[in-house]
Symmetry: C2
Subunit: 394 residues, 2 copies
């Protein structure tokens, strides 16, 4: 007996989750090495060996690790608070201002859920991480786009449209959510823009969620400004070891925020997932304490891949991209793909054995695709050449 499908709750329809980045099927041609640019390749860049050791030890010492308070083990929060206060340049109370979540994604969902009321307006940068918009929609609130101008001349910084942000706050938005370094472009915000965001939040009594997942991986001498050093009482910082450190398979992330917000996130975590896996919280023990030179080496390896891909893409008139300043993402503009981005993405898969994430996930970007270049170096360069070929044939 077939039963009629139960109607989806209203909030599901708003999510528009038909495309699920990272979920693309891989139907790739024979003979080519498939490169999945939708996320990093942990075989090419494995986690620090200390992480595997720490989690393995935790598994064998289960009584200590299996259960934790919903906000995470106190001994883990102590470590994390100390290291992140040094990193971000502002103090953190380990008891009240930190929560360990199932990945940074888990933190983002809890943070937005803790702050967004149905019917609210929420300022969302465009382009930015697709889940920002989806979660806001799921919570039955309205995203108000604020443009990040990233298509600048070489060497010129990307700039947030501060007039648009002011207008969003003046129009009733009480919350801004954005990522720094920006996902998908790899742009790093200027200190002027970060300080202006802090000032506008204060002026309009607003709150800011900043996703700094890739903030340890900044290339060259590029300066990086931590929002919480300028707006500690008005911001929530998301960070974790899933990207640069390749620890995504452990699903641990960290949120830092004023105590009242952390309390609310913990209440919600109590019904959503209870806690980040008790054993996996041990993956945070070696975080920010990797062996001497480990992080520098990882950044240098990624800088070389970035430069080689940039050279391949810059040599073609069919595509263009901004040089990534932080993180492992690049956003590729393919003007010929406008109006047929899904066809282009499908061709990349079937003709070039390449998986990418479609630009429209990040806002109104109908001719762009995102690549995570944390991949085997040579395989990534070869795949970039194939991308150019497909783009030139369009």
């Amino acid at each position: 007996m077939a039963v009629a499908p139960w109607p989806a709750p209203h909030r599901f329809q708003r999510m528009n989750a038909d495309h699920a980045p990272g979920q693309e099927r891989s139907e790739v041609p024979q003979g080519l090495r498939h490169v999945d640019f939708s996320h990093g390749d942990v075989s090419a860049f494995p986690p620090p060996p200390e992480v595997v050791d720490a989690v393995t030890a935790a598994l064998r010492d289960g009584g200590r690790y299996a259960y934790s308070p919903y906000r995470g083990h106190s001994f883990i929060r102590e470590l994390v608070a100390q290291r992140l206060s040094t990193f971000t340049g502002a103090p953190i109370d380990p008891t009240s201002e930190v929560i360990v979540t199932p990945g940074t994604q888990g933190g983002l969902f809890l943070a937005l859920s803790a702050l967004v009321e149905r019917g609210d307006k929420v300022a969302v940068v465009a382009p930015d991480y697709f889940a920002n918009r989806k979660i806001v929609e799921y919570l039955e609130a309205t995203p108000v786009p604020v443009e990040l101008a990233y298509r600048t001349a070489e060497g010129e910084p990307a700039r947030l449209d501060l007039d648009e942000l002011r207008a969003a706050f003046a129009g009733g938005a009480r919350l801004l959510v954005f990522s720094n370094p920006n996902n998908p472009t790899g742009a790093v915000y200027t200190s002027e823009d970060i300080e202006a965001i802090a000032a506008l939040a204060t002026e309009f009594d607003a709150f800011v969620i900043v996703d700094q997942l890739y903030s340890r991986q900044i290339f060259g001498e590029h300066p990086f400004t931590h929002l919480r050093a300028h707006a500690r009482e008005r911001c929530l910082t998301l960070i974790g070891p899933s990207k640069t450190e390749s620890v995504s398979g452990c699903r641990v992330g960290v949120a830092i925020a004023p105590a009242a917000i952390i309390d609310r996130m913990e209440q919600l975590q109590g019904i959503v997932s209870l806690r980040a896996a008790g054993y996996m919280q041990a993956a945070l023990e070696p975080w920010f304490a990797e062996s001497e030179g480990w992080l520098d080496q990882r950044i240098a390896d990624h800088a070389r891949i970035r430069d080689d891909l940039h050279a391949v893409f810059s040599a073609s008139g069919a595509v263009s991209t901004r040089l990534t300043e932080g993180g492992s993402y690049l956003f590729l503009d393919v003007p010929a793909a406008k109006g047929r981005i899904d066809e282009f993405v499908a061709k990349l898969r079937t003709e070039a054995a390449v998986t990418v994430t479609r630009g429209p996930e990040f806002g109104d970007f109908p001719e762009s695709v995102r690549l995570n270049f944390s991949q085997d170096h040579q395989a990534a360069v070869d795949a970039a050449r194939r991308i150019v070929q497909v783009a030139e044939r369009l």
Copy 2:
């Protein structure tokens, strides 16, 4: 500068999450061995050794395990579908009818979120797992209590009030959520009640979520009836290795449901937490395939603890309880605690070095407390004697 706390969204206020079971602080007297009955003790009952081996191997083979589709690794879903179809007595399509979630809690949140519209009525058994009610409230729906009569004569089955369930469906509820074995009483539903639930769901075109987290741990020859064998197209079954198998520290659970519901849960998982930790999904490989005799031994060990606690509690006129038929919970009635349950719970902690979960979490049970007796045997019996002493002094 102190900033006014941001107002909590409306749905937070409905949750009433002031008490967080499993989160109780432990201020216990010197000299007594603290027994935390709020959850099982994984040092007393460790996970099967194959689980630790499987997760450790996955951590060292990261490329295969780190990332999975949001619904879980296909090779894990194949194994789980095969074993659970045998266990539950009805086929399962591994591609479309299974999702791996961050613990069974993660599955419960996704399941209710996938089915409950704001303003809905949802039939919720009383007593039952506290998160059922909290999640329904969080989703801005209304729980409609349906009584489970569990205070029966020794040997008599607990019975669901089927008239109340009919009235709830007739009054507009389209969903029932319950646990079997029942949390907190350890009662197992009769086959008559399970078949009646299936028939009522069909009659009223309703859907049922059944949490069978403890359904592998049934004592003696007590029969257990799987709802999905009678209502496969109208039910979602939650199960996982967190309880009997002591694998809670891995945060992996499984939901089985019609494909349309699993699709929706996966969409939501994509914004809530992405996936159960990729490495931890390996904990499901040895599940239902533990070494010969492992499960029988575990059940026998728990039956002995159950019997000894039952003897301690039955010998006192100050408390009473039902003999647990399945799982590791018992629900203790303490008539003198009525009207001052928080005082009683606090005295247990400060005078008897015992942590329990308060009855009001499970519905209108102002004189009861829940114990998880998956503990060191002797420590549990000693603690039970101390509980009786505190109850008698009330």
